[in-house]
């Protein structure tokens, strides 16, 4: 028995990935590997979901591509690792992934206790409620003794309990294990309302037989700023993740798009020149190629393009920009100056 066990252990170690020296920074590890390993969700349409060819598409996936473009100049040098709610943080802690871009809410306790740090918020989400129009309700406060469908395990159930406790309302929570069951239960009338993040409600509404029969109530009962996460104590890597995201936002502000980025190289605007690496040497300060900004925009476009392509009004999700508009257009998307 011992021999059998030993031989299995030996086989396991034989297949083990070659351990990189512990002293290497994340950037060195990523460069030596030749690709970025990015943790995403397996199937959240609009954020990260495989297309027919098994290629990851979506908002979160494009965040990964922008970081890869900053490091390698090629947005396709990414290996996507599907993570689930249970394994996502551990995958980051153990070094299995370099960055986690998986609709993860930036919260105090995660930041403080999990050995990781968060980059800039890439998507401002919040929990909402959706009801059939026929219910005749226009505010969540009017829901009395309603059955509410939801998924287990996340903070969603806690938020809804807190909300109703605060207004002394009564409700009944109906929990389903899978998104498919959850949605089917709501549409079959098992629940009066369904609760989830507003972006998720939009995708649930999109598959209704007649989406116009359902409305998302105006209340946003929680703050869900979704941000990429990385291991703490590696400031250089944190800077690369953060500034890749900010580059997307700054590009939208400056009107640089995937299509016109080549023309913009000749722009007279000193900000644009710095961002695209035409003047000064900002990239070097991060340990990157000086054209990192150009590469990011060339491979995924600016923030607005990423948003519209994956979750915007032209897609099945059909989300409006809302809080995710630029700061000078009434939203919260704001990049520090790139200079």
């Amino acid at each position: 028995m011992k021999q059998a066990l030993l031989s299995i252990c030996a086989a396991a170690l034989g297949l083990a990935a070659a351990g990189s020296a512990s002293a290497a920074t994340t950037l060195e590890t990523v460069k030596a590997r030749g690709k970025l390993v990015c943790g995403v969700s397996l199937a959240t349409p609009g954020f990260a979901a495989p297309d027919d060819k098994g290629r990851m598409q979506g908002f979160d996936a494009d965040i990964c591509r922008s970081i890869a473009a900053a490091v390698f100049g090629d947005g396709d040098k990414v290996e996507f690792v599907p993570t689930n709610i249970n394994t996502r943080f551990q995958a980051l802690q153990s070094g299995e992934i370099d960055v986690l871009s998986r609709q993860t809410t930036h919260t105090f306790s995660r930041d403080a206790s999990l050995g990781l740090d968060f980059g800039p918020t890439v998507f401002y989400d919040g929990q909402g409620l959706m009801v059939p129009k026929s219910l005749g309700v226009s505010s969540a406060k009017e829901l009395t003794e309603a059955a509410i469908c939801t998924l287990p395990g996340t903070t969603t159930a806690q938020n809804i309990s807190d909300f109703f406790r605060a207004i002394n309302g009564k409700f009944e929570l109906v929990v389903f294990e899978s998104p498919d069951e959850n949605r089917a239960a709501f549409y079959s009338g098992r629940c009066e309302a369904i609760t989830s993040d507003r972006s998720d409600l939009a995708s649930i509404r999109a598959v209704a037989n007649n989406p116009a029969d359902y409305i998302v109530l105006p209340e946003t009962i929680s703050k869900e700023p979704l941000a990429p996460a990385f291991r703490q104590n590696d400031s250089q890597w944190g800077d690369i993740v953060s500034w890749s995201v900010w580059m997307l936002m700054a590009a939208e502000e400056k009107g640089i798009t995937q299509a016109n980025v080549d023309e913009k190289l000749k722009s007279e605007d000193p900000d644009v020149q710095r961002m695209l690496g035409a003047t000064e040497e900002l990239g070097k300060m991060l340990g990157l190629d000086n054209k990192w900004g150009y590469n990011v925009i060339k491979s995924v476009g600016n923030y607005g393009e990423v948003f519209e392509r994956n979750v915007g009004e032209g897609t099945k999700l059909g989300l409006t920009r809302g809080p995710n508009a630029l700061w000078n257009a009434g939203g919260l998307i704001y990049s520090p100056p790139i200079r």
Binding site: M1, A49, T87, S94, G95, V207
Partner: protein, 364 residues
């Protein structure tokens, strides 16, 4: 002597009837039986009609999600469009001939290995020295000009088959060794085996998978990582071996002690007695429960989804959540999964019945 005489004089048994479903009178002999038979036939007809209507008549054979949404039948364009993803998952699209080849190779070699005429010690050697490395090289690449594909990109059917086939193939010898250890005369070995088996059986597979994928990496030194797939695979092997050991032990207990003593008195040593006398009889007896366990484990490998490995059921789930098909092709997706799992489970069951017939020896 009298007994023998009587046996010889007993009237010959009637030859078994050729009818596959027995005599007609068994179904329509009495009014009660007739009613039950008629109701059953009507029920089967009704279900067949429903299924045919859904699968063929009302089904949609071309078009996109909108066409399926309008129709009441099956949505075949979904299956056609998503099949390749469901089977191969995230494996790079241009390289998917490799997992396809690996699957075909695995099937054909399994098929050959199932024929008793080819059983030999060499077959086992071929498996270990040739087949498994070839499968691994096909999937992982990195040599002979094949693009390297990290195990994190493996998924779908090849992953499910690898986890269950490799898992059970390696768990079987380990389980037999554990069963022998548990029946050993040496207390130290016996206690170790009992301890291992009881600990593993006392914990659900999910928690062992969690330990292997979530806890283990935190105990490893910085920078050393064992591939996640390998961790899950080892967890499955250890888990399955404990259950196999208990089944084999049941078979061992069925072999009369006199046979072991007889073997020893002939001068055979322990391993000879086990290999030539005890195990052949014991293993033959435990084929039905063993195949039951194998089928169960084949389906249990879907649990690896919880630790972030993308098995076949997971790729099916991901496919039905595509925005274009979301909420439209849920049933179709799960039916594809059910059909695949049913087919392979049924094949295993059929093979086990063949083995039982093959090994049926006539002493009684």
């Amino acid at each position: 002597m009298a007994d023998v005489q009587m046996l010889v004089l007993a009237p010959p048994q009637p030859a078994p009837t050729a009818q596959r479903f027995g005599k007609l009178s068994a179904y329509f002999g009495t009014p009660g039986n007739t009613i039950i038979s008629m109701l059953s036939i009507a029920g089967m007809f009704f279900i067949a009609k429903l299924a045919f209507g859904w699968l063929v008549i009302d089904a949609v054979f071309s078009g996109a999600g909108e066409a399926c949404k309008a129709a009441s039948g099956a949505c075949w364009p979904f299956v056609v469009q998503k099949l390749r993803y469901m089977v191969f998952g995230f494996y790079p699209y241009e390289e998917q001939w490799r997992p396809l080849l690996a699957l075909l190779l695995l099937f054909s070699v399994c098929g050959v290995s199932m024929v008793p005429r080819f059983w030999s010690r060499n077959l086992l050697l071929v498996w270990i020295v040739v087949i498994l490395p070839v499968l691994y090289i096909l999937m992982a690449g990195g040599v002979f000009g094949l693009t390297p594909v990290a195990t994190t990109s493996w998924g779908g059917l090849p992953l499910s088959f690898m986890l269950s086939f490799v898992g059970l193939t390696l768990a079987l010898p380990l389980g037999i060794v554990l069963a022998l250890a548990r029946a050993s005369n040496l207390p130290a070995i016996r206690v170790l085996a009992v301890g291992f088996i009881e600990i593993v059986r006392g914990v659900p597979l999910i928690s062992i998978l969690f330990m292997a994928t979530v806890m283990l990496p935190l105990f490893m030194p910085d920078g050393v990582t064992i591939d996640k797939l390998v961790r899950a695979q080892v967890a499955i092997i250890l888990f399955a071996s404990a259950y196999i050991a208990e089944i084999v032990r049941g078979g061992l207990q069925d072999v009369p002690a006199g046979q072991v003593e007889a073997g020893k008195s002939l001068g055979l040593h322990y391993w000879q007695v086990m290999r030539k006398i005890v195990l052949p009889q014991a293993l033959k007896k435990v084929i039905p429960p063993m195949v039951g366990l194998f089928i169960g484990f084949f389906q249990d490998t879907t649990l690896v989804t919880i630790v972030g490995l993308v098995d076949f059921l997971d790729t099916v789930r991901a496919a039905i959540r595509d925005p274009e098909w979301q909420g439209i092709a849920v049933l179709e997706g799960y039916l594809v999964a059910a059909a695949v799992y049913f087919t392979f489970s049924a094949l295993m069951g059929a093979y086990s019945r063949f083995l039982e017939r093959y090994f049926r020896t006539t002493h009684a």
